[in-house]
Structures are given as C-alpha cells and as structure tokens.
C-alpha cells in the first residue's frame, strides 16, 4: 500500500505522493500570485468609504459592490482618456516587441554562427566623429549639416588612419556591449533622448515610443535568443548547407521553427516590458501619445491615491496580455528538438 504511493506509472510521470506534494506547492504559489489580483478586483467594486473603513473581503457580503469606478473609467469622465491611451498602448507595445524580436533574433543568430571582427580603430573613430557632431549641434549648427559632415569625416579617417589599427573585437564583446546599453538607469537616459526626438520633431508621437522601446528591448532579445541558438545542434544546419540551402533559408526554415519556445518566452517578456513601461513614456509623450501606465499613475491625485480607479485601470490593462499569454503558452511545448534530431 505504501509502496503504491511512491510508484510511478511511467518514467516521466510522478508518483501519487509526489503528485500530492506538487499540487500542494503549486496551490500555495497560486494563492500568492492571485491574492493581490483578487484584492484589486474587490477594490474596484468598492466605494471610497469601503476602502477607508478597513478591510472588507467579499463583495455583497461585507460591503455593497458598486460600479462607480468602472463607470467613471469606461463611460464617464475619464473614458476619452482611457480609450485614447488604450489604443496607444495597443499600437506601441506589440509593434515594438515584434520589431525587437525580428532584429534581435537575427543578431542573436549572427552572433552564434558567424565570427565578427569589428576593428577597434574604426569604432573609436566612429565615436569620435559622433561626439564632434553632437558638439557641433549643441553649438547651434543645423543637425543635417553636422551629421553629413561628420559622416564624411568618418569615411575619410577610416580610409586613412583607421586602417593602421589592427586590433579587433570578438562576438562576446559585441554581445556585452549590447547588454551594457541597458545599464544606465532611464533617469539618466531620458533627457538626451527627449532632446533627440525634439530635434527630429517626433516628440509626443507613437513612433518615438516604438523606437525607444525597440532599442531598450533589443539587447534582451539578443541575449535570450543567443542561448537558445547555442542549444540547437549544428548538424541540422550543416546537412541543410550541404543540400544547398542558403543561410537565410536555413535560418528561416530550420533554426526559427526549432526555437519556438524561446521565441515565445522572449516575445512575451518584451511585450510585457513595452506594455508596462512608465518612465520613458512619461517624458516622451504629451497629451497625444500617452500610454496606460501614465493613466494609472495619474490616479494618485492631490486627494491621495484613488485606489478604486487605479484597480479598474490595472485590471483592464492586464486582460489583453493575459489573453496573449494563454494563446502563446502552448507553444512553449516540449519535444520540438528531440524529434528533429532523430528525423
């Protein structure tokens, strides 16, 4: 009888006792994960007095639920703001996440399958010319002329002086450089980016947000996907190359299908990051291109945080992301690699 508890039906299935323990642990963490969400849901149906008079847990039993917050956000005074910001978020987040995945996956593949040797001299010349251009612009030169002039200077220097320096970097240096771009906190980055988009006349547009999120998310995509590509065996690609497939074809029809779990996980993360980003959006958007996190933060008004409105906003914000997560979850499925190698 006792032995039965610890016996497994098959090698990969857990024993009954193991199953019970697993469910216990999973249940505990489900509670931990869901309780704050439950509290948001309950708060969204509370009148201000119900929040301020102490904790009430069950709508309809210890307090009378009210739809006032939902009405205010969805059809009342705030509905125009909500709709506009909702559309902005829905446009900006998936677009920037998709672009980041596209460019980042390519770079990650390049970094695992090619040897890059950018010359140190060329890079330093480039940065030097960029500094000169920025300096010229801050002194009042028109930015088009400054950029063209520094580009010309860069090419001249590269052809003459730049060739002398033979020391070059390797793939790992490129990867570290990419991730190091995320190290500066947004507080420090935001002023220069603001000035940049102001010069380009892109302030308070969705394009500015998409570009910014694309650049901030790219390094994460590159790093996560690089590890997935390293786990994909070379043999398959070698076979395809011998059969005459081009690099692009190998990438598109062999490597990408094999890394679907990684792609999905990475996309989800990048999407969520762009969906929820607050600080950069605060600076780069005015009235037209505001996103939802700004609306949430704006509910902390002069009269103190309006918990009920905040709860409604947070809830309507996560619904689409949850839908996407449920839709994509099944792609993180086992066995894609194993089958490929055997066949």
């Amino acid at each position: 009888m006792v032995r039965f508890l610890f016996q497994r039906k098959s090698l990969s299935a857990p024993s009954p006792a193991g199953m019970a323990l697993s469910y216990l642990a999973l249940g505990i963490w489900t509670l931990v994960a869901l309780f704050p969400l439950y509290w948001l849901l309950v708060t969204s149906f509370k009148l201000p007095i119900d929040v301020n008079m102490g904790p009430f847990y069950l709508p309809g039993i210890d307090f009378k639920p009210s739809l006032h917050a939902w009405e205010y956000i969805l059809v009342g005074d705030l509905s125009n703001d909500t709709t506009r910001n909702y559309i902005n978020t829905v446009v900006v987040a998936p677009l920037s996440a998709g672009l980041a995945l596209l460019l980042g996956t390519g770079a990650a593949y390049g970094l695992t399958r090619f040897q890059y040797q950018p010359r140190l001299g060329a890079i330093l010349t480039f940065i030097g010319c960029l500094v000169l251009a920025i300096f010229a612009i801050t002194l009042g030169a028109p930015w088009q002329i400054a950029l063209v002039a520094s580009a010309v200077l860069f090419i001249i220097l590269l052809q003459t002086v730049g060739r002398r320096f033979k020391r070059s970097l390797a793939n790992n240096d490129i990867a570290f450089w990419l991730i190091s771009q995320r190290m500066l906190p947004p507080v420090a980055v935001v002023i220069p980016i603001y000035v940049l988009f102001q010069r380009l006349n892109l302030l308070d547009t969705r394009v500015a947000l998409i570009i910014t999120y694309l650049a901030t998310n790219l390094p994460i995509v590159v790093w996560l996907m690089r590890d997935y590509f390293q786990t994909i065996p070379f043999e398959l690609e070698e076979c395809a190359a011998i059969d005459g497939a081009s690099r692009y074809r190998i990438f598109w029809s062999i490597v990408l299908p094999l890394s679907v779990p990684g792609l999905v996980a990475t996309f989800l993360f990048v999407l969520v990051f762009a969906w929820n980003e607050y600080l950069l959006a605060l600076f780069l958007s005015g009235a037209r291109s505001q996103t939802l996190p700004l609306t949430v933060a704006a509910q902390n008004a002069t009269r103190g945080p309006q918990w009920w409105y905040m709860s409604v906003l947070i809830l309507i914000m996560i619904v689409p992301v949850i839908a996407i997560a449920i839709a994509l979850e099944r792609y993180i499925a086992r066995g894609l690699l194993v089958g490929a190698i055997k066949g």
Partner: protein, 368 residues
C-alpha cells in the same frame, strides 16, 4: 539571366553575417551612444536656471567627489562604523577565498598578463565592496543607497531564481492542469510596475489592508512597515520578488522544455534517481540560460525605482532608497549634474559586476 541571379545570390550569401547583425547594432547605436555621451557631460557639470533659460557649467569631477567624499557621502555610501565580530569573520573568509582564487590562477598553466591584471583589479574592487558592506551594515552603521541597492539585487535575484526554478520544475511534470498553473504564475509579471507598487501599498497597510486581522492578532495593529528600516526594505523586496519570479519562471520553463528528454530517460532506466538526473543532466543543460537570465535580471534589478518610490518614498529617512531613486530625487531637485553622476556610478558598479560575472562565471559555464 541565370548568371546574374547566381551572382546576386552568392553576394547575398557572403553578406549574410552582416545582414543578420547590422540592423540591431545600428538601432542600439542610434539610441545608446548619444545619451551616454550627453549624460557623461552632464555628470561633469552643474545645471542652473538663469534668466531666460539655463546654464550648464563645467565643474570637472566635483559631482563625483560630493558623492564619494563630500556632503552626499553618508547618503550614497552610508555611515561607517566598526564591524561586529561576525563582520570581521565575513571579511576574513572573503579575503581568504579571493587570495586562494588568485594563487590558483597564477599557478594554472594558461594565465596571461591581461587576465592577471583583470583579476587583481576585480579582487581589489570586490574587497572594497565587501569592506563597505561590512562597515555600513554593522549595528552602529547605516547603509547608503549603493548598499541598499546591492541588498535588493542580491536577495531578490537569489530568491527569484530558486523560486522560479522550483516552480518551473513542478510545472514540467505531466500533471493534469499544468497549463492553468503556468498561466497563473505568469500573471504578476504582466502588471505595470507602478500598478504593483500601489497594489502592495494597499496590501502592506496594517490598518486597512487585507492582512489587518493578522497584524491585530500579532499585536502589530499600529505598527507600520514603513517606520522600521528593515521592515520597509522587506516590503520592497517582497513586492519585487512577487513581481519578477514569473520572469525567471518562464525562461527556465522554456529552457527545461527544450532539454533533451532522452538523456534523462536513459539515466532513469539505468537506475539514477531524480536528484542525480537533475544535478548531472538537467542542471548543466539549463546553466547557460540561467547565467544569462541572472545577468539580465541583475542589470534590471539595479535600476529598481518604482517600488521604493511609491511604497515607502525611500523612507524611513533614506533606508529604502535605491541608487536610481536617489538619482531620480536629485533630478527632481533639478540637480541634473548630481543625478547624472549617480547614474554613472551605477553604470560603473553594474559594468564592473557584469564584466566580472561574464568573465569569471559565464564563460566558464559556456565552455564546460
């Protein structure tokens, strides 16, 4: 016709390497180098509003000097005090370990000058960090924002990784209902950080929050997390862990799903137990992803700002203030130079830790 097509395709083939990597590099270059240079310049200058505009005056290293030795020193580094015996013990152990590592490296066959200089520098800076930790965390000392940030990062990441790994291991089992758990476990990550900060402000309220009966029963009804330095830090860390465990969870889950099951099944047939298969087969397979995951989370965690800002506003005093919040507060006070200097200090710290991590740990894992 055929010849031209062939030429074009061979040319495309030769360019493949660049085609794959250049778009990403150019985009990052476009938006990264520029802010980096501007903030460096800001950190070396003083920003002031004057009649009809503003003025940026070059002041050299004054902003950094203020942080490391001047008026902001106790705020940034913390108040030093003689360490407790436990602190001395920690110092002794760390110094011994580092010395041992260095000696071993010198005796190994493949040491180079660059590697040696790098390791000596890393040892020195790391020792300095431990010295700072021990002195500011002693009973009479007070940790500054740099130490508080480090506490958030190290505790947060360790707990998140272990929890995430545990949950991922639980949900790859073929249990009925595992898809439900997978989606539920992802939920915390999907809420905007500002929203989470406000949510946890509701939850940690000992008077009107949902756990009020528990606090009452424990006699803590009038106690506020926010008045006790470690209580407030714990509140920030709990919220952080709640929010970011899902990130660890989903990436580790994808890695575990990608591992080859044949090896594990073969080992199980040969009589290995669960623990052995995990330790010798599963763990080595997910180590590369794990090290990347930890690096990414580390970089993000160093920038923690929303949670302490909304939950505790950095208080009591400056007990929960992270470096980014410190920079944000200086920035709000229009001390743009000081703010940029803090940001650059953060950049130095993260770059140092990141490079040490990549060179000493990640590379070894990747090669193994």
């Amino acid at each position: 016709m055929y010849g031209r097509w062939h030429r074009l395709s061979t040319q495309a083939e030769r360019m493949a390497g660049n085609v794959f990597i250049l778009p990403a590099v150019l985009v990052v270059l476009f938006l990264a180098i520029f802010p980096l240079i501007i903030s460096l310049y800001l950190s070396l200058s003083r920003f002031k509003f004057v009649k009809g505009g503003f003025q940026i005056k070059f002041v050299g290293l004054a902003n950094y000097q203020k942080l490391l030795a001047g008026s902001e020193k106790t705020h940034f580094l913390g108040a030093m005090a003689d360490p407790s015996p436990l602190g001395w013990l920690v110092v002794a152990i760390v110094v011994a370990l580092m010395a041992w590592g260095l000696v071993r490296y010198i005796h190994s066959r493949q040491h180079s000058v660059v590697g040696l200089v790098g390791r000596v520098l890393a040892t020195f800076l790391f020792g300095l960090g431990v010295w700072l930790l021990v002195h500011t965390l002693s009973p009479d000392g007070r940790p500054g924002t740099i130490v508080v940030t480090w506490i958030y990062v190290s505790v947060g990441i360790a707990v998140q990784y272990l929890l995430g790994l545990g949950l991922a291991l639980l949900t790859i089992q073929r249990l009925p209902g595992r898809r439900f758990f997978r989606v539920v476990f992802l939920l915390p990550m999907m809420i905007t950080p500002v929203g989470i900060a406000y949510t946890f402000r509701m939850l940690t309220d000992t008077d009107k929050g949902p756990f009020q009966p528990i606090w009452q029963a424990l006699g803590l009804g009038l106690y506020s997390w926010v008045n006790d330095p470690w209580g407030a830090r714990a509140a920030v860390m709990i919220s952080d862990i709640w929010q970011w465990t899902p990130f660890m969870f989903i990436v580790l889950l994808a890695a575990l799903e990608g591992q080859s099951m044949e090896l594990i099944e073969a080992a199980l047939v040969d009589g290995a137990n669960r623990w052995q298969t995990f330790w010798h087969i599963t763990l080595p397979q997910i180590l590369p992803v794990s090290t990347t995951l930890i690096l990414i989370r580390m970089i993000e965690a160093f920038k923690i700002v929303d949670l302490p800002n909304v939950l505790t506003n950095g208080g009591p005093g400056t007990a929960t203030e992270s470096m980014t919040l410190h920079a944000f507060i200086s920035w709000r006070a229009l001390d743009l130079g000081g703010s940029a200097a803090i940001a650059y200090m953060l950049l130095f710290v993260v770059t140092f830790i990141g490079m040490a991590y990549v060179n000493l740990i990640r590379r070894r894992v990747a090669e193994a």
